[in-house]
Point group: C2
Chain length 458, copies 2
């Protein structure tokens, strides 16, 4: 088989590993264009993009100079925003035009929406008029909407056709999407009425009516739907492709699962980074950008930890009398913070997957509080004993015991209630909950521990 | 169109919302089987499963009693492990057998691997001998491997065939997978040599050789590969389906993108929960299970916060002299902990997407340290001023300033180096890094602040 092919398909299985990156860097060093091409050509565009992201700015500039015309459209669409602008700037206009023209409309849209204005204009200029019109139409949909995600090329058929008519039609068309998995049936007003898998189409007799081999489940997506909803629907309902309709229910495009998977991946990345107070950003961002991005979160944390300090300051006299309190108080706050983060993460994740709803919110809150209570009691006993042994003061053990239970219960409560409230207020719970929850557990932890100490020990 | 169908396809677009859950609960209350069926029948199995997860144990038992035979195989495969065992226990053996027999082999495997032994045996018994053999063969592959994920039904063809031969073959077979998107070409020893999309097959003339319409990119997956690698490959290389081969390179099955998307979603969930110290677990877990699961993480945190307390204890005399130190010290530790978590999350995420490698690890570490330094200096100035104003001690401001810078730099360093080291040691960095990083920032934060205070203020 493989002899009849220009390149054996199995050779394309080359993956990017550390060895290959080193070899590329060595070829760059030696200014050896042939070796460089041999190393890069068999790589998938996604791997080439990854490699460009992993090398330094200087190495990347060398690579661009030595590997003229090597960056194609697919590599461009795989690149991190952080360095894509730079690379487009460094490309010759005719190389850019060629790279962009080979992309499908949805990939061009995806490329353009992250570019700075001058580069976006350069890319648009590289398209021919018809493609440019399609791309600009997609860009007219709101950012992060299904309209931006969809591809415009659709395999469709009138819903009264037979299998034979559909197959003849497919054979005659030359503007079919590169990859498609379903044929969408439409009524005379272009409203989708169902779809047929290509597998069913292929394995059915020519005179069978398409209407008789429809898939049982069928969902359409509105062009203005948020892409997060689209990813959720694909994952929840195991969709492979879904027709996109405009406000008049007319078919305007199709979204396929590979795009939905990419969105799901991005949404997860966003959630994970937001929960950690990082916001967006990637590994290729420079120091200044990264510093700026993380600054606001640290500023919020500074304010909340000053709040905690103000609570401590109210008990300066108590601490001056019993210094052991200063030694032990971070334990109470830290355990509460950890338990709160646990509850919070479970709640944020459950809201993202629509598993936490009005139907079960009270049951979940009750569970989190109970879990906080049970773990609170266990650790309260341990810490009570540690307090007694370490400092030889039985009442200090009692104070630790009580403060720990209070803070762990509050942690379970705050960790669930705060994200639910933020969600009601239409604030992304992943974004802001962390700061609120640890503020609560710090303030309650210090206040309960030092307050009880002031009452019971002085 | 829709009149010719038993149910209009668009009616299936029903989604689960709070209203519907309430209606279901009302129908349960009223013991109204007809309304219950009308409410549940149009729902997608995934939504029925979600609803079962959101209602209470008692409500679920009522539902099972009233909606006899309603739980089919697809609902079972969508259910959370936490309640699936209970539901299988509550099902009549013949209902279970019927539910399981309608599933494809990979779904049965997915179902069985999470079940307790008696329920797993009940499911296996419900299968006919041929299906049972296929399922048991899949179960012989390691847990979380491609072999467990793949479906055994494959559309394949000898690699010397033409389009016409392939289509005739597909028309004649009745054991085709329910959904398939490619035809895999194999050589006489069953080794995959390439694949053809159904779209290309449909739109090509009958006498074209399959070898001439092969997809340019082609990747095989080994049955023993980890499913995490599989999900990565699908996402990275935009695969739709991929052939799975055994150790002799023979085709044994195929994995489709919808399964890979589910794995990607699970892996993300695992990462997010592990980073927060929650481990596995879901919203349907009971209090005892949840408490047990979170306990180890809290225990680790207790040990690390006691370590921090031991550091503080070394400076009891210093604190006794200047109580302001006890008020301010949590700020230094908290800022370091936050900055460390930021660096850590970026690093863990970048390792999961293979963006952080040996090629760029030093550059990333340098960047994180620099970011820590810049943000450290800014917050050190702010806190230095706060310290001076609040307590009227200039040298206290200096101590805060220096300790803050030290701890933020250490946070950037520890947040990147610790996950990299854990990864080298083959420990999941998401699992263990958090505890290590906050231990470092707590210990360094308290030590730097109190140590500098002891030297500069006493």
């Amino acid at each position: 088989m493989s002899q009849t092919q220009p390149t054996s398909p199995l050779e394309i299985e080359t993956v990017l590993d550390g060895q290959r990156v080193n070899d590329v860097l060595a070829a760059l060093e030696a200014q050896d264009t042939t070796t460089l091409q041999d190393l890069l050509d068999p790589l998938h565009p996604a791997d080439i993009a990854d490699m460009m992201e992993q090398i330094s700015d200087a190495q990347r500039a060398d690579l661009m100079a030595l590997w003229k015309g090597g960056i194609d459209g697919e590599v461009l669409s795989e690149l991190d925003e952080g360095i894509r602008d730079d690379i487009i700037d460094a490309m010759e206009p005719q190389d850019l035009a060629e790279a962009v023209r080979e992309l499908e409309s949805d990939d061009v849209v995806d490329l353009i929406e992250d570019l700075e204005a001058p580069q976006a204009e350069a890319v648009l200029d590289a398209l021919d008029d018809a493609d440019r019109a399609v791309v600009e139409q997609s860009l007219s949909f709101p950012e992060d909407s299904a309209g931006r995600l969809m591809q415009r090329e659709v395999a469709m058929a009138p819903d009264h056709w037979t299998v034979g008519q559909a197959i003849d039609h497919l054979r005659s068309r030359d503007d079919l999407p590169e990859q498609f998995y379903h044929m969408i049936l439409v009524d005379p007003r272009l409203k989708p009425t169902g779809y047929v898998t290509l597998g069913r189409l292929l394995s059915s007799k020519r005179k069978v009516a398409l209407a008789d081999i429809l898939e049982p489940s069928f969902r359409t997506i509105r062009a203005e739907d948020d892409e997060e909803e689209v990813a959720y629907a694909f994952n929840q309902y195991h969709l492979i492709s879904a027709p996109v309709v405009d406000s008049d229910d007319r078919l305007v495009g199709v979204i396929t699962i590979d795009d939905a998977m990419a969105v799901l991946d991005e949404e997860h990345e966003e959630d994970i980074l937001r929960l950690a107070g990082v916001g967006e950003g990637s590994l290729t961002d420079r120091v200044v950008e990264t510093t700026k991005r993380r600054f606001p979160w640290l500023a919020v944390n500074l304010v909340t930890s000053i709040l905690a300090s103000i609570v401590i300051a109210q008990f300066e006299n108590t601490i001056a009398t019993i210094v052991a309190l200063a030694v032990l108080m971070p334990i109470v706050a830290s355990m509460g913070g950890n338990a709160g983060t646990q509850s919070l993460t479970v709640a944020v994740r459950a809201m993202a997957t629509k598993d936490l709803t009005a139907s079960n919110v009270w049951r979940v809150i009750r569970r989190e509080v109970l879990v906080g209570l049970v773990n609170g009691v266990i650790f309260a006993i341990v810490m009570g004993i540690v307090g007694v042994i370490w400092f030889g003061m039985p009442m200090l053990g009692v104070v630790l015991f009580l403060a720990m239970i209070i803070n762990m219960v509050v942690a379970g409560l705050a960790g669930t209630v705060i994200p639910v409230i933020l969600d009601k207020l239409k604030i992304d719970p992943a974004l802001a909950s962390g700061a609120f929850v640890t503020t609560v557990t710090d303030v309650v932890g210090f206040f309960a521990f030092l307050g009880l100490a002031a009452v019971l020990l002085l």
